[in-house]
């Protein structure tokens, strides 16, 4: 903007009325959104931190210092929940990345019908998660679901298999459902990134006799690496915070097998009205995600530097 003002001076236009300074105008424009976020996100966040030092419930609240935190850190069950949450996150994100990469590569292949396939991948992202989970509840049903039915007719199991009734299978079933929800977005972004890779890189490699696999490994992957790493972080945050999927499928059961931090927090705070103890859990979630993101961003910087910024 300064150069415009400058050129205006040079052409000796008559001095026009002074416009609002850019800094004021900028703040005027972001102000409403800022205030809204402050009231609905920042203030509740501060309030969560305050509540975490109290024993707030429906009755009232008294200051209890670090008691809530101390209790959590000493609780074996809580530590298991933390470990389970990270396992849930790493497993689910890894699967989303791998399946997303494979899916994007397939949809990027020059075969007839690919425009249609690209549309067909999106529905899990478009519809409400809760609705999708009603579908998965049905699939996982031991007596009437297609998965158990298929396993029975293939002779893998003798009787009906209730996917959500056993600790192990419930956990992995929830992972699969979570991957199902998250994969379309990942696929879409990988696909877009792949299409942004300059064609001449492939042509040059092709002329030099590089195989498809070699071109994928040495051109595609490095070129889309920045998108892969940023999608992984976004996915990780979503998966860590993923609530509806687990809540609808299992409500954290059976016997806590699918209870992640967010489900635990919800149960304690909203289910049992223990606002203080719930807030301490919420603060721990924010802390863990914050630390994880910082470590990750540090790593992201290194990757970006290593690969350049993607395109040259």
């Amino acid at each position: 903007m300064t150069d415009i003002a400058h050129s205006a001076e040079l052409s000796r236009k008559p001095a026009r009325k002074r416009t609002m300074p850019e800094s004021v105008f900028g703040w005027l424009l972001i102000g409403p959104a800022m205030i809204f976020i402050a009231v609905i996100v920042a203030w509740p966040l501060a309030e969560t931190i305050r509540l975490s030092f109290t024993d707030a419930s429906l009755g009232g609240e008294t200051y209890v210092g670090f008691a809530n935190y101390q209790e959590l850190l000493e609780s074996r069950r809580f530590n298991q929940t933390v470990v389970r949450t990270f396992y849930w996150m790493f497993l689910s994100v890894a699967l989303k990345m791998v399946i997303g990469l494979i899916g994007a590569t397939l949809l990027n292949a020059a075969v007839p019908g690919r425009a249609l396939f690209r549309v067909l991948v999106m529905p899990p992202w478009v519809i409400p998660i809760a609705i999708g989970m009603i579908g998965w509840l049905w699939l996982y049903n031991g007596y009437f679901g297609v998965l158990s039915g298929a396993m029975m007719s293939l002779g893998i199991t003798d009787g009906p298999f209730e996917f959500l009734a056993h600790k192990q299978s419930a956990f992995y079933s929830a992972v699969v459902a979570d991957v199902w929800v998250g994969t379309p977005m990942v696929t879409l972004f990988f696909l877009a990134a792949m299409q942004g890779v300059p064609k001449d890189l492939y042509e040059a490699a092709y002329v030099d006799g590089a195989s498809r696999w070699y071109r994928f490994r040495r051109i595609t992957i490095p070129q889309i690496m920045p998108v892969i790493v940023s999608m992984a972080l976004l996915s990780a945050i979503f998966t860590f915070n993923s609530f509806e999927i687990i809540w609808i499928l299992t409500e954290g059961g059976p016997r806590g097998a699918t209870t992640t931090l967010i489900v635990d927090t919800y149960k304690v705070a909203i289910g049992n009205f223990k606002f203080g103890e719930g807030s301490a859990r919420a603060v721990i979630i924010v802390f863990l995600l914050g630390v994880f993101s910082l470590i990750y961003l540090f790593f992201l910087n290194k990757v970006n530097r290593y690969y350049g910024s993607g395109k040259s």
Binding site: I4, R16, K17, T19, E22, S23, I30, P32, A33, M34, F36, I37, I40, V41, P44, L45, E47, T48, L51, I99, I102, G103, L106, L107, V111, R118, L120, V121, M122, P123, P124, V126, I127, P128, I129, A130, I131, G135, W136, L139, Y143, F144, V146, G149, A150, M152, P160, W180, P184, A192, P226, V227, N241, F243, E244, I262, I270, V286, S309, G310
Partner: protein
């Protein structure tokens, strides 16, 4: 040529795509199949892959079993529309500021906005509950609209910003040199040019708003006639005798509005959403 595949390779690609699409579409397919089967045949064990008595009966029965179904769908559409409208009112000026202007703490404040993405509503439910209670908004539409807006503003700013950055500056500068005020330039020059981008971001926000209603609805609203579709249906899942065929019919009917919007606009939507990914 480089993009040529042998017949075998083509077959392999199609087979792999088929596996991938089966994973993605199986729940929808099974929901649809379940909605077509009469209830007594739905509960047949062992599982039958095919039955000969498909009917659309459930699609008319569901309005009786779930008397508020129409209301739920309308609520969902209404809440999502209000969320979209309010979000856009906040997002448009902010996105323009981040795309074009230079002001103190620009990067810091953008970082704060994006940081909001780190918290889903679930972390902030407890104080949000109290805030909404103090404001007297519990058990109203606003209890589901207000938090929804807050969590969509960051995404909206991010998407629209990358769109606005692609609009050439020259027109704005011309208007500016001619003595137009900043606000006038924004309203009469930038917004008309940005209409396609506004539509894409609006649709993305609408889809997000339609999708995220469940948590806020089950936590902040107890009034059955205000529930959006996912929360309304979820209530029935807990019942002793779930009429699954009607449940599936209702679920599929309920996602029609958002699926139709998506299908009509998917080309623009996909391009708009991923613009940021390609640029970098």
């Amino acid at each position: 040529m480089m993009d040529r595949y042998t017949k075998l390779q083509t077959a392999g690609i199609y087979a792999a795509i088929a596996v991938f699409l089966i994973f993605i579409l199986l729940p929808f397919f099974e929901m649809f199949m379940a909605s077509l089967r009469p209830l007594e045949h739905l509960f047949r064990s062992p599982y039958q892959f095919w039955s000969d008595d498909f009917s659309f009966q459930a699609y008319s029965d569901m309005w009786v079993t779930v008397p508020l179904l129409g209301r739920y769908i309308l609520n969902s559409v209404y809440i999502a529309s209000m969320v979209t409208l309010l979000t856009m009112i906040f997002v448009v000026p902010a996105a323009y500021a981040y795309a074009r202007l230079d002001f103190p703490f620009k990067n810091a404040t953008l970082g704060i906005f994006l940081g909001v993405n780190m918290f889903t509503g679930a972390v902030l439910l407890i104080p949000l509950y109290r805030v909404l209670r103090t404001m007297g908004l519990l058990n109203t539409y606003w209890a589901m609209i207000v938090p929804g807006v807050a969590f969509l503003i960051p995404t909206g700013i991010w998407l629209l910003r990358s769109y606005l950055e692609k609009i050439p500056r020259e027109l704005e500068e011309a208007a500016y040199v001619d003595g137009a005020s900043r606000m006038y330039t924004l309203r009469r020059v930038v917004l008309p040019l940005a209409t396609p981008g506004l539509i894409v971001v609006g649709v993305a926000v609408f889809i997000g708003a339609y999708a995220q209603q469940f948590l806020f609805a089950i936590t902040f609203n107890q009034k059955r006639e205000l529930q959006p579709l996912p929360a309304g249906l979820f209530e029935f899942i807990g019942y002793q005798d779930v009429t699954w065929n009607q449940m599936m019919a209702a679920a599929l009917t309920g996602i029609l509005p958002v699926m139709l919007i998506f299908l009509f606009l998917q080309k623009y939507l996909v391009a708009g959403l991923t613009a940021g990914a390609v640029k970098e």
